[in-house]
């Protein structure tokens, strides 16, 4: 176990310090964490999930099931990092995870010795008695034992970013097939993107010792990369994993900018790319699989190709006496390269008996199987089926290759079994994807390059690129011959899923109990549910299943590969949309003015609105709100109501259109007038309300509630384009173009007169309640004036183009001083509307009808309007229907609670006796007690009756009197005055 003095793709002049479990080590630039650990003689790096068996470094790629570590510390710590994928950096801190006690002495190993009682699905059969023990005793123990690494429990301190990319051709995987395909495509001028998860492009060629065009293959990689790098139409992306394939050629990719968190507070740690491609080629190669024998999970047992790559790419020999166990020719390549590097290769054991050794001068045993490995924290020997025992400290296993075809399955392509190479090959990949090379089951380089040539030519032609020049490649023809899975499974504890501890015994038991469909097997045993999602275990498990069931692999089939290809941090998916940036803020035009007036703001959808404006000496929000209400009702107040949806409606058929979309009539609304409108959904339930003003014969201006501004506009466009396509109606949303203010209170007219340009007469005669006009204010600013009142006072709403809003509101508040103008926020707005009995969001909650709201008579019987027919259904018009009414507490000192339910006095508070609920409450400073609005059965016929408002959440019962919903100025004299 050592570093070779020279060779490979590491920089021996650049030493990097890192630590594992508190001990300091040195690695080199170009190392992964796993190569650096192996270079320091560390095999044991973790513990398995269930039995806490020792786990070593198994592979050299992203499929790693065992070498999962906790990277970094404190709030930077990140669990379950595959040591095989982390590019080593100076100062890296790593720790093993999932053990109690030290890594080499894990108390939880007891599970391993009890494993006979912990067979597949054992937990479904026990822990049921006594009943309370499941949640109190058993489950907490299981939960603490389960899981792998730890989160810090603190906010993720790193930054993440997102980006979009577009290309003609996306090349997934920058191994030989990918680079060759990319080169062919790049030379046509096509816009291409090449992505690869490794931090060095080149794929397997970075770890192989073969010649191409008479040079070592890593040189060929370099020459191609330098050409691709020189081309403007090519984007090469290393450290970028294509994690998912989605509809219509959209792919998700994760670029790891840095594992070193020091760099990621200001600069993004990862970038999540969404790649829009016209076509893609999948060149992801193949993953090696293990072989089944007892204790095949011991540290020191590694994939053969990985051992070879550790040797060739990183100059690391992971053992002093390495043996090789194979069922195919590729295992021999490892033996050859190890030997060439000067390693002591004990022998190669090949399951095949009738072969001529592909490589000479290597001790070999043909036609034999390993039945058992021995060792404690590391393999020490192997036993063959003839009883022979061989001492070895590292076993390289080659059970053949599985094409890396996951991305062909994300849109539910189902792989087929190939009987020649004994592997699943892609079938029905997405329409705009072609699979090339080993990913397609071609394990011979010459065939792979030919495959690439033929397919690329066709793809590029179809994309409209005709000038195709193909690079010649000379590579020795490598034979890949593999023996089928053995017909007999060895006895003993044999691992199929290294991380989740699924053994052959578990599969046998599951099948015996009836869980023999692949999906049931997976769910019952957890086979393939580990962090590698079955990359290592799936096919092995299926081979056992096929043997037990005596079915072909094709009949057995696979479970579904789902995105992501490798795990993606949740933080990367969220990108910048977190904290205050979760959703954009919409600010009202008077926001800055409100801020300078000390406003407290509240979120209303994406809007921030002024909630109240505390002044000096006020200790509670109620003091401020009461003052705002009283001052508005006694003098005058101003409130920004820009957030209401505003829709301009023009065209010859506008009147008819409004008749259609509103439940009440608008066609006869005179020019210069405003009317309240109630809009129903197509199912007859109340949708929204607001006012619509008529400025001319064919020009209306509609307002909607803040909450429904977007949906109402969408609905109107639907009505216009889809239901009345021939009508002359034009809609445009002007919500953001007009700043609108409510100016309410007995002195509002006087105040407005001061700002209206002189020739404008807004006296009660000339501009009565529900009038509207286009006017100018403050020396020529265009404005729209509406005499409407949500507060119940003499009141107006005035709209000015948004660009004048700040000036306008500053000016009016200056002029308003002499009238004691008060800015009021949404709370005071709410109090005043409750005092007046106006419905708002709590009442218009999508479950109530015009009938419930007491507006049933408004709904047109004659015209065809949206919702009126369906609103007439029997169940929506029952005699004992809920009615919106007011409530006052009998004891005026008591506070009402919104959400209370109404129960008749003397009756038990239960569902059967439930008569309705309180929808909104407020403290009325005018009445000096709490008031509420709510729905109660037949409420409009029950004024004066006393019922209980119950709030069992807080064990409260309040006697209330049913009241008209109009608490303040019920005759409406003020607003007409």
């Amino acid at each position: 176990m050592y570093r070779i003095k020279s060779g490979g793709l590491i920089n021996r002049n650049k030493e990097l310090n890192f630590s594992f479990n508190g001990k300091n080590f040195v690695g080199y630039e170009g190392d992964t964490l796993s190569s650096a650990l192996l270079g320091n003689g560390i095999h044991l790096v973790g513990r398995s999930f269930k039995y806490h068996r020792p786990r070593g470094i198994f592979s050299s790629g992203s499929e790693e099931p065992s070498a999962l570590v906790q990277l970094e510390e404190k709030n930077f710590t990140e669990p379950n990092i595959r040591a095989t994928t982390v590019k080593l950096y100076d100062g890296l801190v790593s720790n093993s995870q999932n053990h109690v006690g030290s890594l080499s002495w894990d108390f939880m190993r007891i599970n391993d010795y009890l494993s006979t009682f912990l067979s597949a699905g054992f937990y479904y059969k026990t822990f049921m008695w006594p009943k309370a023990f499941w949640e109190k005793v058993y489950e907490p123990i299981i939960r603490n034992a389960a899981g792998l690494g730890k989160l810090s429990k603190e906010s993720d301190p790193s930054k993440y970013d997102k980006g979009y990319l577009h290309c003609d051709l996306l090349v997934i995987g920058a191994g030989p097939a990918g680079l060759y395909s990319a080169l062919i495509a790049a030379r046509t001028g096509a816009k291409i993107i090449v992505v690869d998860e490794d931090f060095i492009l080149g794929g397997s060629f970075n770890g192989e010792n073969i010649n191409i065009n008479d040079n070592i293959c890593s040189d060929w990689v370099k020459s191609i990369l330098s050409e691709l790098n020189s081309l403007k139409n090519v984007r090469l992306m290393s450290s970028t994993t294509l994690y998912g394939s989605f509809d219509h050629g959209i792919y998700g990719a994760l670029e790891v900018k840095s594992y070193n968190s020091k760099n990621t507070i200001t600069k993004p740690r990862h970038i999540l790319w969404k790649i829009y491609s016209k076509f893609s080629v999948l060149c992801t190669g193949a993953l090696e699989r293990s072989i089944l024998f007892e204790n095949n999970d011991l540290p020191g047992i590694m994939l053969s190709k990985s051992v070879r790559h550790y040797c060739n790419r990183w100059g690391v020999i992971p053992g002093n006496n390495i043996s090789i166990y194979t069922n195919n020719d590729d295992g021999w390549e490892t033996a050859k390269d190890l030997k060439k590097a000067g390693c002591n290769v004990v022998c190669i054991i090949d399951q095949r008996s009738n072969i001529k050794p592909p490589i000479e001068n290597i001790d070999h045993i043909l036609g034999r199987n390993i039945v058992k490995a021995k060792g404690n924290l590391r393999i020490s020997s192997i036993k063959l089926d003839n009883g022979r025992i061989i001492n070895t400290d590292c076993l390289a296993v080659s059970g053949g290759y599985n094409p890396n075809l996951h991305l062909t399955c994300h849109q539910r392509g189902k792989p087929k079994w190939n009987e020649v190479n004994h592997c699943f090959v892609p079938h029905n990949p997405p329409k705009t994807m072609e699979v090339i090379g080993a990913a397609n089951g071609l394990f011979n380089h010459e065939e792979m390059f030919n495959d690439s040539k033929i397919k690329l030519t066709k793809i590029l032609r179809n994309l409209g690129f005709r000038k195709i020049a193909v690079e010649k490649v000379n590579i020795s023809k490598k034979v890949y011959q593999i023996s089928p899975f053995p017909k007999k499974i060895p006895e003993g504890k044999i691992w199929v899923d290294l991380q989740n501890d699924v053994t052959v015994k578990d599969i046998k038991l599951a099948v015996h109990e009836g869980f023999h469909s692949v999906e049931l097997l997976k769910r019952y045993t957890t086979l393939g549910m580990a962090t590698d999602q079955g990359k290592n275990s799936n096919v092995l498990g299926l081979s056992v299943l096929s043997l037990i069931k005596n079915k072909t692999m094709h009949e057995v089939g696979t479970t579904i590969f789902r995105p992501p290809f490798t795990p993606v941090p949740i933080g990367a998916f969220a990108g910048r949309s977190r904290g205050k940036h979760f959703k954009p803020f919409r600010l009202t035009p008077s926001h800055n003015w409100a801020k300078s007036n000390n406003a407290v703001f509240v979120e209303a959808g994406n809007w921030l609105r002024a909630q109240w404006y505390p002044i000096k000496g006020e200790k509670t929000w109620r003091e401020s709100v009461d003052r705002e209400v009283i001052q508005t009702r006694n003098n005058v107040g101003i409130c920004d109501v820009t957030t209401l949806g505003k829709i301009d409606i023009k065209g010859k058929d506008s009147g008819a259109f409004l008749n259609f979309v509103y439940a009440n009539n608008f066609g006869k609304l005179p020019v210069g007038k405003v009317r309240y409108g109630l809009m129903l959904r197509d199912d007859g339930i109340a949708f929204d309300d607001g006012t619509t003003a008529r400025f001319s014969e064919n020009h209306f201006v509609m307002t909607t509630t803040t909450a429904n501004a977007v949906t109402v506009f969408r609905h109107l466009e639907f009505c216009k384009q889809c239901l009345k396509p021939d009508w002359d109606v034009h809609l445009i949303s002007t919500t953001d173009h007009w700043a609108q203010f409510a100016i309410a209170g007995p002195k509002s007219r006087k105040l407005l007169q001061e700002i209206c340009d002189p020739k404008i007469d807004i006296s009660n005669d000339k501009f009565p309640f529900m009038a509207c006009a286009k006017i100018t204010v403050l020396e020529g600013i265009p404005a729209r004036l509406f005499r409407i009142s949500f507060s119940g006072e003499l009141a107006y709403e005035i709209a000015v183009p948004r660009r004048y809003a700040d000036f306008f509101v500053k000016k009016i508040s200056e002029i308003g001083k002499k009238y004691s103008l008060v800015p009021y926020g949404t709370e005071a707005l709410g109090v005043m509307r409750i005092e007046k009995g106006h419905a708002a969001g709590n009442e218009l909650n999508g479950q109530t009808t015009a009938h419930n709201l007491g507006l049933g008579k408004m709904v047109s019987k004659l015209n065809d309007c949206v919702g009126n027919t369906m609103s007439e259904r029997d169940e929506l018009n029952k005699d004992d229907a809920l009615k919106l009414v007011g409530f006052i507490p009998t004891n005026k000192k008591q506070q009402l609670v919104a959400g209370s339910h109404f129960i008749e006095k003397g009756q038990i508070a239960n569902l059967e006796n439930d008569q309705g609920w309180m929808s909104s409450v407020a403290f009325s400073p005018m009445l000096n007690h709490s008031i509420g609005l709510g729905y109660i059965k037949r409420g409009n016929q029950r004024y004066g009756e006393k019922v209980n408002a119950v709030n069992p959440l807080k064990n409260e019962i309040t006697e209330v009197e049913i009241h008209s919903p109009h608490f303040y100025d019920p005759e409406g004299e003020l607003l007409r005055g």
């Binding site: 219509h248 329409k431 197509d682 199912d683 466009e717 889809c722 369906m870 007439e872 259904r873």
Partner: protein, 94 residues
């Protein structure tokens, strides 16, 4: 998904809002009898095929057009995209 807008070209589906079965275009008229059953069938009993589906999408973050998209619900493949008015015309011709 990508929707080929008739005039704006390929657009990401996240620019659109989905409504549903294109049969919603053919709303019944209210008659003297105010036939609730006809409205019920129109509103509540929609096509829901496993396969080719004509459906309404609204380009809310775009040109505000309502489109009829013909899409296979088993694999999301989009076969046709039309403006509502063009679809209604061709429907009437049929």
């Amino acid at each position: 998904m990508i929707i080929q807008h008739p005039d704006l070209g390929p657009r990401d589906s996240s620019e659109f809002v989905y409504k549903g079965d294109a049969e919603l275009l053919f709303r019944p008229e209210r008659t003297e009898n105010a036939d609730q059953e006809i409205f019920h069938d129109y509103l509540y009993l929609r096509n829901n095929p496993a396969g080719k589906h004509r459906e309404l999408w609204y380009h809310e973050y775009g040109d505000r057009s309502w489109l009829v998209v013909t899409r296979d619900t088993t694999n999301h493949e989009i076969l046709k995209v039309e403006y509502v008015k063009d679809y209604i015309k061709s429907y009437k011709v049929k």
